[in-house]
Every structure is written in C-alpha cells, then in structure tokens.
C-alpha cells in the first residue's frame, strides 16, 4: 500500500487513467445519485415507521410489509450509495454480493427453521410439571 510508486505529488504530476480529479459534470452526476438515493431511502424509512404504528392496514400483513420495505431500502443503499450496479466493471462485486446473500440466507433461514422445529418437538413446560 505504501510502496513508493504509489506516491503522487499534488501538482505537476501525471494522473493514472481513471484517477484524474473529478470535474464539474462528474461531480454533478455523483451528487444527483446520492440525492436520489437519500430521497428514496427517506421515503422507504418513513413508510416503514408509518406502517409499524398504523392501524389502517391489516395488522398481520405488517411484518411482511416491513421486511419487504427493508429489502427495498437495502437495495437502494447498495445501488445509490455503494454503487453496486450491473455495469461491466462491477461483475465481480455483484458475484461477491450474490455469494454473501446466499450465506446470509443460509445462516438466518437455517437457524430459524431448526430452532422452530426444536421448539415444536420439545415437551411443553406445563406438561413436564404436571
């Protein structure tokens, strides 16, 4: 990381391709991306908090709605903040993400499934006492 060929003087030096300072249009585009992301994230967050507290919707549907909204918001964060997109220079990032999601799903769904099954098959407490 700190090898000498990394060093770039502030002025009067060549920049590597892709590493030259961003200019007007690039800044504006970047800013717009973050603004869109912020707007969408605030919208989804607001809807989440609203749905959690409201009695306007059928209550049993609330947990599912909250999970869906959270996944949507995570998607917004990934695209607009972390810039994980479908671009050609992003294939490796997307593949790594897909593998991460697979592991996360295995850990969470697997744990919940197994523990639910164990709870189902365990003798209820009051029957043991009686």
């Amino acid at each position: 990381m700190s090898s000498t060929d990394d060093y770039q003087p502030l002025r009067g030096a060549d920049h590597a391709p892709g590493d030259e300072p961003a200019h007007g249009r690039e800044i504006a585009e970047g800013l717009l991306g973050y603004l869109i992301g912020l707007g969408l994230a605030i919208l989804l967050t607001a809807v989440s908090f609203f749905i959690a507290g409201t009695f306007l919707v059928w209550r049993p549907s609330v947990p599912v709605a909250l999970v869906v909204l959270a996944i949507a918001q995570i998607g917004v964060h990934l695209v607009f903040f972390l810039h994980i997109t479908t671009g050609p220079d992003n294939v490796n990032n997307v593949l790594a993400l897909a593998f991460g999601v697979l592991i996360v799903m295995l850990v969470m769904v697997g744990s919940l499934w197994i523990m639910y099954n164990l709870n189902q098959n365990m003798t209820p407490m009051h029957m043991q006492m009686g």
Partner: protein, 218 residues
C-alpha cells in the same frame, strides 16, 4: 501506479526469452485500475462483516421471545428515539457520499465539510444509542436479564461498536488528507472508509426493521 502493468511484474524473475511462448496470459486490453481492485477487496471484507452480523441477527430472531418474565421489546423500545437515530445515520451516509465526491474532485470544502457533518451525525447517533442502553440498564433491563436482552445488546451493541470504530477511522482519514493531500493511495483509503460507513447504514436498516419495528409491534 494505479493500473497493473500488463505482463511486466508478473514474471517469475527469469529473463523474458527463458519463459517460452506459454506466458502470454496478461494481454487484456484494459487491466482493472488499482482503485477497482482495492474496492473489490474491501467489499469482500464488508460482506464477511455482513455474514457475521447475520449470525447475530439469527441469534436475536431465535431468542427474541425468550424474555424470562422480564420486559419485552414492546415495553422497552422508544420508536421516536429510533427514528432520530435512523435519520442521523441516513443523513450521515449522504454527507459521507458528499465527502467521497469532494475527495475525488480534490475539493476541500466538500471533503472536510462532508466528513465533519458525517462525524457530528455519527456521534449524535452514538449519544442517543448510549443514552438508550444506559436507560435500559438503569431500569433493570441489562444484558443479563434475559436471553432476549443478551441477544439485543450483542446485536445492537456490535453495530454501535462498528460506528465507534468508523468514527475513529473518519478522523484518521481527515488527518491523513490534511497532512498528505489527495494522494492516490490516500484516496483509496477514503473510498474504503466510505464503503464501510454506507455498509453500517445498511446494517442499521436491518436492525431498525427486525429489532425495533417488528419488536415494538410484537
């Protein structure tokens, strides 16, 4: 520099002619820049961090009902505080993005302004979270009270620890850019920091949904 030199540097030390014709692998027209490679490596680390959090989430989800006669999430959680925490982190994610653009544009106002705002919002988040934890422990709902509370403090506390470390990293990056300027290697560290901070926000989205909103409605 930022791009791997195609071919050169990948040899095994033998002179060119001794390698024979088999070594013509690195003839890509456009090798990835170091910035992309560093970002990819750090992304792998972040995914491993997310996998670690998923284990804490699974633990919490399994134990969330095991209150041992103690207070449940419905009794403890104050959704107004959680909303303020969420706004803090969300805005800090945005200002962190501004700082990342400022760093790429070598724009001091955007970089230092964005980093300062990110730091203030991050510390605000931590202050609210610590206040919440202290309040819970004061009313006898500390991590030792029940399995539910152990899992809660582990999961949310681990995220808070990440935010604390992130804030320290933020201050380090401000100092490094201040002292060394917008050097390519420093800018790559700023990129990694921004990725880290955005990932903390992603984990918080999962926490406020799974722990607070689902827990308060239970």
């Amino acid at each position: 520099m930022t791009a791997f030199q195609a071919g050169a540097g990948y040899g095994d030390g033998r002179p060119e002619e001794a390698r024979g014709p088999a070594v013509t692998v690195f003839d890509h027209a456009d090798p990835a820049s170091k910035r992309i490679i560093v970002g990819y490596g750090f992304w792998i680390f972040l995914l491993s961090d997310i996998v670690m959090f998923s284990a804490f989430f699974a633990t919490y989800a399994v134990l969330s009902g095991e209150t041992a006669g103690g207070p449940s999430g419905k009794d403890l959680f104050n959704l107004q505080n959680v909303a303020i925490e969420t706004v803090c982190l969300l805005l800090s994610s945005f200002t962190c993005g501004l700082a990342a653009i400022g760093a790429r544009a070598h724009n001091g106002l955007m970089y230092y302004g964005g980093m300062a705002a990110t730091c203030v919002l991050g510390l605000g988040f931590l202050a609210i979270e610590i206040h919440e934890f202290v309040g819970m422990i004061d009313q006898g709902a500390g991590p030792t009270r029940s399995a539910f509370l152990s899992a809660f403090f582990t999961l949310v506390g681990c995220h808070g620890l990440h935010v604390t470390l992130g804030t320290l990293w933020l201050l380090t990056m401000v100092a490094q850019v201040f002292a060394k300027g917008y050097r390519a290697d420093i800018l790559r560290r700023v990129l990694c920091f921004a990725l880290f901070w955005h990932t903390l926000d992603i984990i918080w989205v999962a926490i406020f949904t799974v722990v607070y909103l689902l827990g308060a409605g239970r």
